[in-house]
């Protein structure tokens, strides 16, 4: 579905991704794991066109994404739920959700999708007139996910959705991602929370210092000695 072929990405002169390649298959949950600075978020930002690869290509169902401006990406059915949620704090919950459905099909189906999001997150409905900046961390994460769902995506990319959440909420968020996946949305997840994500994913890639070093199913990687030593601490 999504093919990333050998991308090299730079911040000015500093190269952060070196020939990164991977493929996301339809309806699966794919995880990119890695330590701080491994290039996980950079990879997602590049898919969203917030960064442009110097060489290499990104294809989504046969369409080249790497030369498009960032605002054209969502129209192809890809939505990015960014790290740190990146809500519009001085807009209400409902306005944030509406901002997720500005164009095309998402706009015509806005009311149904809002109902769907509220059925997933009754808390958001209770607070729909409240400024999103005043929500708690967990509620803000729900809203970020909800805003992503509003565009009716085919592929959802989550950047560290568990960041800053209490352990009990972390499990909720992962259950939720699974639920969204079961309804037919392909998931690309970036996480540092290796144990829990490897357990829930179909396949995973390990990034280190901007390069892919390992790939396999979640089970395979959990059994891998390198992963055990570096990420799981066993």
């Amino acid at each position: 579905m999504l093919k990333v072929n050998g991308i090299n990405v730079f911040y000015e002169d500093l190269q952060v991704l070196w020939e990164v390649s991977f493929e996301v298959k339809e309806k699966e949950i794919l995880v990119l794991v890695g330590a701080n600075g491994a290039g996980k978020s950079t990879t997602l930002k590049t898919i969203s066109s917030l960064l442009t690869p110097k060489t290499g290509t990104i294809e989504f169902n046969g369409i080249r994404l790497d030369q498009l401006p960032p605002n054209k990406i969502i129209g192809h059915g890809i939505v990015h739920v960014p790290e740190g949620r990146r809500l519009f704090p001085e807009m209400s919950v409902e306005e944030n959700l509406i901002m997720g459905s500005l164009y095309g099909e998402a706009k015509t189906q806005r009311n149904e999708t809002i109902e769907y999001v509220y059925s997933l997150f009754p808390r958001l409905q209770e607070r729909r007139k409240q400024m999103s900046g005043t929500l708690s961390g967990g509620e803000q994460q729900m809203l970020a996910v909800g805003r992503g769902l509003m565009s009716r995506p085919k592929l959802m990319m989550f950047d560290e959705p568990s960041l800053g959440l209490a352990p009990i909420l972390v499990q909720d968020i992962f259950d939720l991602i699974k639920k969204i996946n079961q309804e037919g949305v392909t998931i690309l997840l970036v996480e540092q929370n290796v144990t829990q994500t490897l357990a829930m994913c179909d396949r995973a890639y390990v990034l280190e210092n901007g390069r892919n070093v390992l790939q396999g199913t979640g089970q395979e990687l959990m059994a891998n000695d390198h992963v055990k030593e570096v990420y799981l601490g066993i």
Binding site: L50, N71, I74, F88, M99
Partner: protein
């Protein structure tokens, strides 16, 4: 809500009959200048307050508007009133160019680029003597003897500006602008063409500022680059009007214009002749203190922090529920 409307209507009537009751040219002049600043402050606020692109160079658009009207009259012999329309349009085109250059930058870098832009265009206007007559300036003959016509033109311009911004902010453009201010990358990821909408905001803002500039030319009948492209008297004043009144509020810049022009005039005239002359030198100092005060205690400006002012100054407590 009803109370609010009543207040606005009575305020409107007050301004409509003001020059018919108060015949003093001095006070009429002050209110005309205030209306002009309402336009500039509101335009600045659309770009800086709502769209989050803080401009330190609104003198660019004010000056281009004024010079369009002035050059129309002095070089082409066309009434400077045509400059009202064309000044806005030319300003908008200059705005588009400024946006093309400066919107590659974000945050403080954008602000610095507009600051530099203002100085560049001031120097161009000073040195391009065949077009602008340089420091000699442009002098035209006023169309009306009485201040009454100018008063109503300025009032109409101020109302049109506020009303337009109000409509824009209630439309989807308004949501796009605010989302760009709040988080530009997130806005782009949700499908908003952020470059386009930053330019739209800049163009509306520069259009009205240019009209205010053209009005200034018609009204004052004399301009030179040091006045209309001034960093201190135009660009910074536009920011002060916005900040003191209330950034990202519809009525904030209007209130700010009253406060700032009032203060400026009070100091310029040494408290209307009551205080010693040297006081008039202190106005820049007082502006500085005012900014510190506003940032410390009224970060959202007079309009934005009105509930706080009511609570603390008038000791009106909200009803406990």
């Amino acid at each position: 809500m009803k109370k609010n409307h009543l207040f606005l209507i009575s305020l409107g009537i007050l301004f409509l009959i003001f020059p018919l009751v108060i015949h003093s040219h001095y006070y009429q002049h002050l209110v005309i200048i205030i209306f002009m600043w309402v336009v500039i402050g509101s335009s600045w606020n659309l770009l800086a307050g709502y769209t989050g692109q803080v401009s330190f160079g609104h003198a660019i658009f004010f000056g281009v508007g004024a010079y369009t009207a002035g050059i129309f009259a002095s070089k082409l012999g066309i009434s400077a009133w045509w400059g009202m329309a064309f000044g806005g349009i030319f300003s908008m085109l200059v705005g588009l160019f400024v946006g093309w250059v400066c919107f590659r930058l974000r945050g403080p870098y954008f602000a610095l680029a507009t600051l530099a832009g203002g100085e560049i265009i001031r120097l161009i206007a000073t040195n391009w003597e065949s077009l602008t007559d340089g420091m000699v300036g442009i002098l035209i003959i006023q169309s009306f003897k009485s201040k009454l016509s100018y008063y109503y033109i300025a009032l109409a311009l101020a109302l049109a500006c506020i009303y337009t911004i109000r409509i824009i902010m209630k439309s989807k453009w308004g949501y796009y602008f605010v989302s760009i201010r709040e988080d530009e990358d997130a806005a782009a990821s949700l499908g908003i063409n952020t470059t386009l909408y930053k330019n739209v905001s800049l163009m509306v803002s520069s259009f009205f500022t240019g009209m205010a500039g053209a009005f200034y030319m018609n009204y004052m009948a004399f301009i030179d680059p040091e006045v209309v492209f001034s960093l201190h008297y135009i660009s910074i004043m536009a920011i002060l009007v916005g900040i003191v009144g209330g950034v990202a509020t519809i009525w904030g810049p209007a209130v700010g214009a009253f406060v700032m022009v009032g203060l400026q005039e009070t100091f310029r005239s040494s408290f209307f002749g009551l205080a010693p002359k040297w006081i008039s030198q202190a106005h820049a100092l007082v502006f500085g203190l005012l900014v510190i005060f506003v940032i410390m205690f009224l970060a959202n400006g007079i309009v934005g922090d009105w509930p706080k002012i009511k609570r603390n100054v008038f000791r009106i407590k909200p009803l406990s529920s």
